[in-house]
Amino acid sequence: MTTLLDVRDVSKRFTMGGIFGRKTVDAVMDASFSLSAENPEIFTIIGESGSGKTTLARMILGLEDPSEGEILFRGKRVSRYGGRAEKLAFMSQVQPVFQNPFEAFNPLKKVERYLESTARRFLQTSDRAAIDRAMDEALQKVGLSLKEVRGRFPHEMSGGQLQRCAIARALIPNPPLLIADEPVSMVDASLRMSIVNLLKSLRDDLKVSVIYITHDLATAYYISNRLIIMQRGRIVEMGDARTVLDNPQHPYSKLLKASVLSTDDAGDGKLATDPEMVKAAGDLVGQAGKLVTKPDGREVRVYAGV
């Protein structure tokens, strides 16, 4: 079994402020996990704002360098620096899907422009027919076609269609890994599931691994194989998605699950969160603790004296 992505003890520290009052913020602390090349999976990173999930994604995409630790992609170190050829080679393997599809396309430019550029660069061809074929194939994979997309501007399409175009574009170089940072949070409710289902079919039919970053436990449960839950830069629980979410063990995971708004008792107006739970989770912020493997395979952060 070979590893596709190996995140080893990665930390990221940002320094804020100027000459006075220099402050350091630990965005990510000691994160480790790996994805295998043979078993494509949807690996979910769950966290609220400030949990470090986006920083972690940026490091995997090579947009940010870890302060400590290293990220290996197919045994090669991911780095911000390096020549253009090296970067293009990396980008053909790991592609991002952005949060807001309306932001991800320049509103003044045609949608196909991004697909075309991707095909031209990564397939290294300038043959019109070959580029068109690559674009159409990629769009077919997401349930669109070049005919529908050609000549359209972003505002002429719905958020769901645009997000699919963005995913199609990412698929052109046939990357084994996609990094999707909150890909549905800006997409309308009626179109959201089509994107989520698409991610699922990418894994099942095209064997693409997806790192799915979200704050939404329900979609995470719906599509992911494994997940990690992050609290203020630390992984607090990691394991099989169903195992963890059916019965979370870390106080923070429990709090998150309890905070999910359920539609089962619609109209009953039950909203109160147990304050004990909030306190239990909040008290653990800043404590190091360590990840311990449980019998059911998951890892949970435990703390000395708790």
């Binding site: 980008m91 991002p96 952005f98 932001e103 396309f105 320049n106 509103p107 550029s117 501007f153 505002h155």
Partner: protein, 285 residues
Amino acid sequence: MFAVFRDLIRYNVEFAIGLVLVGIMVIFASLSFFSPVDPSMIYMAIPDQPPSAQYWFGTNSRGQELFWQLSAAFKNSLIFGITVAVLSRIISITVGLAAGYLGGWVDRVLMFINDIFVAVPIFPILVLFYFVLRNNMDSFTMALILACFGWPFDARLIRSVALGLKHREFTRHAVFAGMSTRKVLLEEHLPYVMPIVFSTFMNNMLWSIGMEVTLAVLGFTNINNPTIGTVLYWANSHSAMVVGVWWWIVIPVILIVMTFLGLFLLAVSMNEYIDPRSRLRRMGA
């Protein structure tokens, strides 16, 4: 292109007025290509004649027909202003976009140079150049020098917009679509700074023509080359107002006001048209 023009004229009064004013001035200036007299020659006509059917704008104390004199002067000054504006726009776009997008040390170095150019007083430097170059100081050399000093404020303005664009998601999307830095800057970011480029183009022309007038009036340019500045220089040295040759001053001033007003109106209305927000609205977003 034609449709754009038609829409602008039909729906934008400012544009129509500006177009008429600038159109008149451009036609007037280009008439000098067909000038029957050489504008650098003197005493070709009876001096000090007021405007009449024979001499439309009158003649000056040096025996030149003001109509042809001014036509040549406006041609030279407009070309001069456009040259300075185009050259300095190229520098400010390059520096501004690159500094904003690349950031880091590139940004620091470019902005350091930028600030030096902001701080250096331009007028003494121009005078210095005049003393060194003397008769080699033609208007193209002067345009080059002015262009070198006319970009820093606008580069900073463009940089501030580029800084915001850098963090838009479509920029990162373009990078992961394999676009080169040049392509990102020129095709993704440039449309967003075009309104700034347009309005500063106008300001820059105004500034450079004004600079040329100042230098010329003081006699620090090649005074035999007809420009708006040198026309005023000769009028001043012949005390035109005092001896009653008022048309030598009044007519050029009216024409200058017309030119600048026209350019200003054009810039404002075109700006509204190329502004990304207004473009998107017309596209139906």
